[in-house]
Symmetry: C2
Subunit: 318 residues, 2 copies
């Protein structure tokens, strides 16, 4: 595994180089962990690879690795790499299912036709189911070890990731997102609308981002207090990420985003810009990133790349 | 937990009473393990409960418990109950997704409207995703213990269940099942058609039945040789179960089955009766159940209910 030089010394290696190196490792590992056995029918393997190996920011797996790096610079990332891949497999399955005609009915993702456009709706449902299930196989199987301490970390990671991805987390957030919104009521009661929007995002986007960081912390052997600090950091980071996402949906263009821009407004969705305007959305995003940085300092997690990643989430353009 | 009297002494308590007692325990446990936290949106909890708590044979979780009983009559079933529930959650999610309009497009299941008919297609996709994810949370979380031996069993169970349910198992089988079949080619090359049918069923139905028994064996602390014997038993049992399923689709009636009878023929699906006729299908089913019994004897697993369960699978009428 290629390790960037002195990852704990922020400033030595520019963040962009760190992200690029970690992303390249994630791409390699995803390619290795995807099922290639004769037991997996070829059309399924193809649809899963199509969706998973289409690039993307890889924010979540890089966050898992950066968290593990911050806690155990020597072994953290190696221990956490399977979890990083599992998180990205779960994120990808959620995109495949979200894009389905019965859900958001989107035809473009990561700059390419969505899975149901390329392979049909049935295969898209099954490719998503396969990615989700294989993610848990990856978590349980790798790293291969008899060390009871690492076995214990792996099992806690399974539970942490399932909680973040499940009915009380990401899937629950998606359910909140497809509930019909009464736009007139939202205008009459903006505070309630903003609380509802935040509750939806905390589950739909935030829960898996928290699980990504949490998995890195657990696999690297963090103690309870550090895991809690990482969780607070990731909760703020997730909120900031989502507000920026809403802003980019208004300001970005489809080519740079790799997904359809302007679809929130077209779908009549409540977003931060629609509730509080673009300017105030930017203030809220910057506030969330500031909170994320403060959570790191409060938890004694000053080393590593986590603060720089928070800044990058705020400044990103795609 | 209610334990049937002397479960290891086959003959003392009729199988029907054993099945009924174990089923009742499974129903209770499923009800307990489903998410009821405020984090899970109510419409999602309702759709998940609707599909999961609709009765059914509960073959798979009972098989998990019976296997655990056969290996450790004192503690096996208690250790394996969460895994039994997780397996049933995974089986139920697969039914919910299989019934979707883009898949089998079925409107009746377990005697009630399917989930997408009752709650809409988007909610059915998400309820399935939720059940699958929560299944892994249940596997990782319960039984709550610090005992490193049980932690190790739980992690191996996660891996075993994910392998059975994933791209090389159940999901892969569903992909094979939706591939178009060339009926004329099947008539010209019956041996190849039968091999393809068996390969599909080994994954679509067999893989999760094997994982159900395997999870019971692992959680009860079976050694490698015993786990292999249980796996051989369950592979034969799964084949017999599927052939009987095909026969019942021809001979059964919709009311008794709780799902639409005759749908294989209506869909032009290749089945055991369509390939080899009803009489020969019955011979094959009886042969598979005989093989399952032999695998038990070869593995020294004579006690317990596993042989009686094999006979019940052959004789079932729904």
């Amino acid at each position: 595994m290629i390790r960037p030089a002195a990852p704990e010394a922020a400033g030595e290696q520019p963040l962009a180089a760190y992200l690029q190196a970690r992303r390249a490792e994630v791409e390699d590992a995803l390619d290795r962990y995807l099922p290639v056995t004769p037991d997996c029918p070829e059309p399924l393997a193809e649809a899963m690879r199509y969706s998973l190996l289409a690039g993307g920011k890889r924010l979540r797996p890089v966050l898992t690795l950066a968290t593990a790096d911050a806690i155990d610079p020597d072994r953290g990332a190696a221990l956490a790499m399977p979890a990083a891949c599992a998180i990205e497999m779960i994120h990808t399955y959620s995109l495949v299912h979200d894009d389905l005609p019965a859900m958001d009915d989107d035809s473009l993702r990561r700059g390419r036709p969505t899975v149901h456009v390329a392979y049909g709706e049935a295969m898209a449902i099954l490719a998503g189911d396969g990615l989700l299930t294989e993610a848990f196989r990856v978590l349980a199987r790798w790293p291969v070890t008899d060390d009871p301490a690492v076995v214990d970390r792996k099992l806690r990671t399974v539970e942490r990731v399932a909680a973040g991805a499940g009915a009380g987390g990401m899937v629950g957030g998606q359910v909140l997102d497809i509930q019909p919104v009464d736009a007139a009521a939202a205008r009459r009661q903006p505070a309630a609308a903003r609380a509802a929007l935040r509750a939806m995002h905390e589950r739909k986007t935030g829960a898996l981002i928290r699980a990504a960081a949490g998995a890195g912390a657990i696999m690297a052997g963090a103690d309870k207090a550090t895991i809690a600090a990482v969780d607070a950091y990731a909760a703020h980071l997730g909120l900031g990420f989502q507000i920026v996402d809403d802003i980019l949906d208004v300001e970005g263009d489809t080519a740079a985003l790799g997904k359809t821009a302007g679809k929130d407004e077209a779908a009549g969705k409540v977003t931060y810009p629609s509730l509080v305007g673009l300017e105030q959305s930017r203030v809220l995003a910057a506030g969330a990133i500031g909170d994320a940085r403060r959570a790191l300092r409060a938890g004694g997690l000053k080393g590593g790349r986590l603060a720089a990643i928070a800044d990058w989430v705020l400044a990103r353009t795609n």
